[in-house]
């Protein structure tokens, strides 16, 4: 067997889903993000492999959003390294954008473009690969209607919504359109920042199942949950408390003791 090349990541606690032969989809090593008083993230390390569904748990203020912001390249850590599919974030703008096009983020505030139609918003997921001509054409003419229709069908929405402006949709419809946009981007790493926070329980479990269903062996999902009772369906769970990783284990092996330690006795039953 050849010696593993120096680029191969050496992880303190490789997750159960990561085989040492395979590069992890997302890898954070000793990530530290400073904050007021105590660091927002304190030497956080984790690795997520292909096909894994990982939940991020923790009380509010634990650093879940900061972790996701580091993971999608929006927040620069003061120390530690980040690797996407084995490679660190590129220096040159163009190469970095190519990397980011393979990472899809579902934002808590959705970040759809209110003034454009659903079709135009779905197509905006492809903007990273389209040039200016197609980007401009998208504003004048319906493009890729078949693909958009299919994406909407996957999130259980009808094709008549394609021409509606996003501002005219209801809250649940907007959530689904945001997920459909993620599907259109076809990313390899899916990150979601408390996507279920303000939804009623039925819609929340539907959308959660939708997201979980998207994970194929070619993709990985890291989703921050505000409630531990939605853990069913995840492979792994990482507990974050005050910027530090408390546990990183199989979801099925999480017990009440772990949760109590995480939330310090206050289970977040009543919202974020």
């Amino acid at each position: 067997m050849p010696v593993a090349p120096a680029r191969e990541p050496v992880l303190p606690n490789p997750g159960p889903g990561v085989s040492s032969q395979e590069l992890p989809w997302l890898e954070l090593s000793q990530i530290t993000v400073p904050g007021r008083g105590r660091p927002r993230l304190d030497r956080v390390s984790l690795a997520i492999g292909g096909g894994e569904r990982v939940a991020l748990l923790g009380p509010s203020g634990a650093g879940k959003s900061s972790l996701l912001a580091v993971a999608n390249g929006q927040l620069k850590p003061s120390s530690g390294s980040l690797r996407w599919l084995g490679a660190p974030p590129a220096r040159s703008g163009r190469a970095r954008r190519r990397q980011q096009a393979r990472i899809g983020t579902l934002w808590q505030d959705l970040r759809l473009i209110e003034e454009l139609s659903v079709q135009q918003n779905l197509n905006s997921a492809r903007l990273a690969t389209w040039g200016w001509p197609r980007a401009l054409l998208n504003l004048l003419w319906p493009l890729d209607t078949a693909a958009n229709r299919e994406a909407l069908a996957q999130v259980d929405l009808g094709a008549e919504l394609l021409v509606q402006p996003v501002s005219a949709l209801s809250g649940g419809q907007r959530q689904r359109v945001a997920i459909a946009r993620l599907l259109r981007q076809d990313p390899e790493l899916l990150l979601a920042d408390e996507p279920l926070a303000s939804l009623d329980p039925r819609l929340a479990s539907e959308l959660l199942q939708l997201l979980l269903d998207q994970v194929t062996p070619r993709r990985a999902l890291l989703l921050s949950l505000h409630r531990p009772d939605l853990l069913a369906g995840f492979d792994r769970a990482i507990g974050l408390r005050q910027g530090q990783v408390l546990f990183d284990q199989l979801a099925s092996s999480i017990g009440p003791g772990d949760l109590a330690a995480l939330y310090d006795g206050e289970l977040p039953g009543s919202g974020p």
């Binding site: 390249g73 703008g93 473009i113 135009q120 504003l139 209801s170």
Partner: protein, 559 residues
């Protein structure tokens, strides 16, 4: 910011919109669409270049970094600047007081609470349309003929149209205020003046101050412009230097003027922030509507809550400012030798009555009106469309932003007739040249406004697009421009109306519609023609004002 609540059905309004679908052009495209006028301009441009003055132009640009530092030149530039600033301040102060009085007099609410009738208000509003519709340059030239060269002439030339504009904006705002508080006070037996001040004063104050600040910036530009046409101050010096090709001395005056203008703009922006007043982009609707879908982004000042110890501070500072300003203005008036009573001594004019109307009718009216409109259209398209385009171009390079800001500041400050004169070094006289000069000036104004609004506006969609690997230009275009488009275009509509009025100032380029004819008639004392031209000009600007109001209401109506 959590996503909107889950699973509820659409409200009735949403359902209605949902049935009709989105109408019109996509927002970001609409924002840059006016730049399409560039196409015919660029096609015509090569035919207009005569290149005779290229060396002079190069010399002009090179002199920018080597202004003359001769004490004599500096001294005369500073004193000229002093006169310009004095004219601007005094004209602005006069227009503020007069405008406030006229606003109260033309407000329906005020009249109905004082004596139950509203017809005086409507009558006065119609009447005020006349001074409002005539550009301050025309007022200046007319008063110059009537009264002669006096400092008071320039001040009156600014004060008259400005007062009418202020009166309109303020009376609209007063009438838009809910009358509940006022009615309650009157019911309790409070006399009309006290009730008006208490009920209407506080809600009106932020808008009043914000608009007042904007008017002061305009006054400085107008004072410079009036100087170019001989009414005194730095403008006169700038024009003389330009005509005698003394570029180094020209730039001395220009840099000084730029310093004063930037100082004024920064000072006013600081006061705005300090006194929690709304940003100017809200001006586009005459009522302060928020910018973009996130309410509070454009009126961020108003959204901030005052701390308890702040509540009296603003009032005290404002009173202090007034107390300082009053004597300063009086001193300024004395120092400049302003004699308000000189305005009443009119010089004898040849009679207007028995002249031949044939000469008036002989003017090529369709051509004049048509070319005025075309000039405005092209200039407006250039100004409105190029500002976002330039922002798009420099998006990946943050270092280019200060350069662009400086260019725009110079464009704002450089009076359009002087730009026109400079362009004549390169291009033949005509409509395109005039439109380029007017458009360049307004590009500076609109560009700065757009930058301010863009900085104020949180664009989460832009960050999301960047996170998905979209380049900075496309992210700016799709993510930020979508939200800014409506308010920006509403302001563009307002500015286009101003440009229609301003088309007269580039009249000296020739073939520029009513403006050229007006200036010719003035200089040849053809009073009958002048009267006819003024009437048509006033009608045109009033129609333009009405159209621009409609466009603004349409754009700013809640979607």
């Amino acid at each position: 910011m959590a996503g909107r609540g889950g699973g509820k059905g659409p409200s009735p309004d949403r359902a209605r919109i949902a049935q009709n679908g989105p109408s019109g052009v996509a927002a970001p495209l609409a924002m840059v669409a006016p730049a399409l006028v560039l196409i015919p301009v660029l096609v015509l441009l090569p035919g207009l270049v005569h290149g005779g003055g290229i060396d002079l132009l190069k010399e002009f640009l090179q002199a920018a970094i080597t202004p003359s530092l001769d004490p004599l030149v500096l001294g005369s530039a500073v004193s000229g600047l002093g006169v310009t600033v004095g004219i601007a301040l005094l004209g602005w102060a006069a227009s503020a007081l007069l405008g406030l009085a006229l606003a109260l007099a033309s407000s329906r609410q005020v009249w109905s609470s004082c004596c139950g009738q509203t017809w005086p208000a409507n009558f006065l509003r119609r009447l005020l349309a006349v001074p409002r519709s005539i550009h301050e340059l025309l007022w200046g030239l007319l008063l110059l003929q009537l009264i002669g060269l006096q400092p008071a002439v320039a001040i009156a030339a600014i004060a008259i149209p400005y007062a009418a504009l202020v009166a309109r904006v303020l009376s609209d705002q007063i009438d838009a205020l809910p009358s509940g508080a006022l009615a309650a006070l009157r019911c309790a037996g409070v006399a009309a003046p006290q009730a008006l001040v208490t009920a209407l004063g506080p809600p009106l104050l932020p808008g009043l101050l914000s608009y007042g600040g904007y008017r002061l910036e305009c006054a400085l530009r107008s004072a410079t412009l009036l100087g170019v046409f001989g009414l005194g101050g730095l403008g006169t010096e700038l024009k003389l230097c330009l005509q005698s090709l003394e570029f180094h001395e020209l730039w001395t005056g220009l840099w000084l003027l730029l310093a004063v203008m930037l100082l004024l703009e920064t000072g006013l922006a600081g006061l705005r922030r300090r006194w929690l007043m709304p940003r100017r982009l809200g001006l586009g609707g005459l009522t302060f509507t928020p910018l973009g879908p996130e309410s509070g982004a454009g009126t961020r000042g108003m959204g901030q809550t005052a701390r308890p110890d702040d509540l009296g501070r603003r009032g005290r500072e404002m009173v202090l400012a007034l107390v300082v300003l009053g004597p300063l203005l009086v001193w300024l008036a004395r120092a400049m030798g302003v004699q308000p009573l000189a305005l009443l001594h009119w010089q004898p004019l040849p009679n207007l009555g028995g002249s031949s109307w044939a000469s008036v009718l002989a003017l090529p009216w369709p051509q004049l009106v048509g070319s005025t409109l075309l000039l405005t259209l092209v200039a407006a398209g250039l100004a409105v469309g190029l500002a976002p385009l330039l922002l798009l171009v420099i998006a990946p390079w943050p270092w280019a932003r200060p350069l662009l800001q400086l260019t725009w500041a110079l464009a704002r400050l450089w009076p359009p007739p002087l730009s026109a004169l400079l362009l004549l070094l390169l291009l033949k006289p005509g409509l395109v040249t005039a439109a380029l000069a007017l458009g360049f000036h307004n590009l500076g104004i609109l560009g700065r406004l757009l930058l301010e609004a863009s900085d104020d506006y949180q664009a989460p969609a832009e960050i999301a697009l960047q996170g998905a690997g979209v380049g900075p230009r496309l992210a700016l275009f799709y993510g930020r421009f979508s939200g800014l488009a409506r308010s920006y275009l509403a302001y563009g509509a307002y500015r286009s109306d101003v440009m229609l009025r301003e088309s007269v100032v580039v009249g000296l380029v020739g073939a520029a519609g009513l403006g050229t004819q007006l200036l010719e008639s003035l200089s040849s004392f053809a009073w009958d023609q002048l009267l006819g031209l003024l009437v048509v000009y006033a009608l045109l600007t009033l129609v333009g004002e009405d159209l621009s109001d409609r466009a603004r209401l349409q754009l700013l109506a809640p979607a």
